[in-house]
Amino acid sequence: MIEVLFFIAAAVALISAAMTVTAHNAVHGLLYLVVTMLAISLIFFLLGSPFAAALQVIVYAGAIMVLFIFVTMMLHQGEKSLLEEKQLFQISGSIGAFLLSAVLLVELVYVLAGFASPQLINGSEGYFTIQTITVKELGIQLYGPYQLLVVIAAMMLLSALISAIHIARRQKNPMQADEEGDQTL
């Protein structure tokens, strides 16, 4: 049973990834990408990593994609893009993404209702014995042997922040830009 769920999720992931790459409209591409992320998150769940699955939904499909959508929306301001807005909000364009995520939803409900539980997988050559890693275990590892890496990861975010702020500053008028920049920083 797990196998069937896995194959459906894998197919959803592959199809929506292909749709992302070939989409003409940025928002459609983003929606398909969200579906890919959700499908992958379901596979994580099937593999016995509920924490990773949750993070995939919250951080990836949530935070990172919202960032993308903000930027896409930001670039579409102005009178010229008002015409494009009509196309952007057509429901028929995103019906594929809707169907794919509906398939995922059915699967998730099926798993959660207890028809299939991840623990059923048993191990033989090349197959999984699921060993669930708890969040506690992960936390002990992260703040034990890996403690410097947590700091370095923070530095990486800081570096990205500095680069992004510096690059994306409005710099048409240098004087104005400086004043504006000082207010935002």
């Binding site: 099937l46 995939q56 990836y60 670039l75 999984f128 990486m156 409005r170």
Partner: protein
């Protein structure tokens, strides 16, 4: 039962779709999206390895890759905004001052 070969296959297929996107698309925004697909393919293998071998390293790697994805997207979108302001297009081919 999920065979590890199927997982490897799925991951490599997703990765190739991502590579295709990076190579074929000219819109910077879509290139960033394709990069996300590639990272997702990688992440899938790490989680699979983590539950296959039962050690937490793969999940830690997942957390770190998540951090990377967020930072990469932040910097990439910064460039997208900047490029759009200056050129009013996201076509990477329009950026071709550096030749020979």
């Amino acid at each position: 039962m999920i065979s590890i070969h199927w997982l490897l296959f799925l991951s490599l297929a997703l990765f190739s779709i991502g590579v295709y996107g990076v190579v074929a698309r000219r819109n910077l925004l879509f290139i960033l999206l394709s990069l996300e697909i590639m990272l997702n393919a990688v992440v899938l293998l790490f989680i699979a390895g983590s539950s296959f071998h039962g050690n937490p390293d793969g999940q830690i790697m997942y957390l770190l890759i998540l951090t990377l994805a967020a930072s990469e997207v932040a910097v990439g979108l910064g460039l997208v905004i900047h490029m759009y302001r200056q050129h009013h297009t996201l076509d990477v081919d329009k950026l071709s001052q550096l030749r020979g």
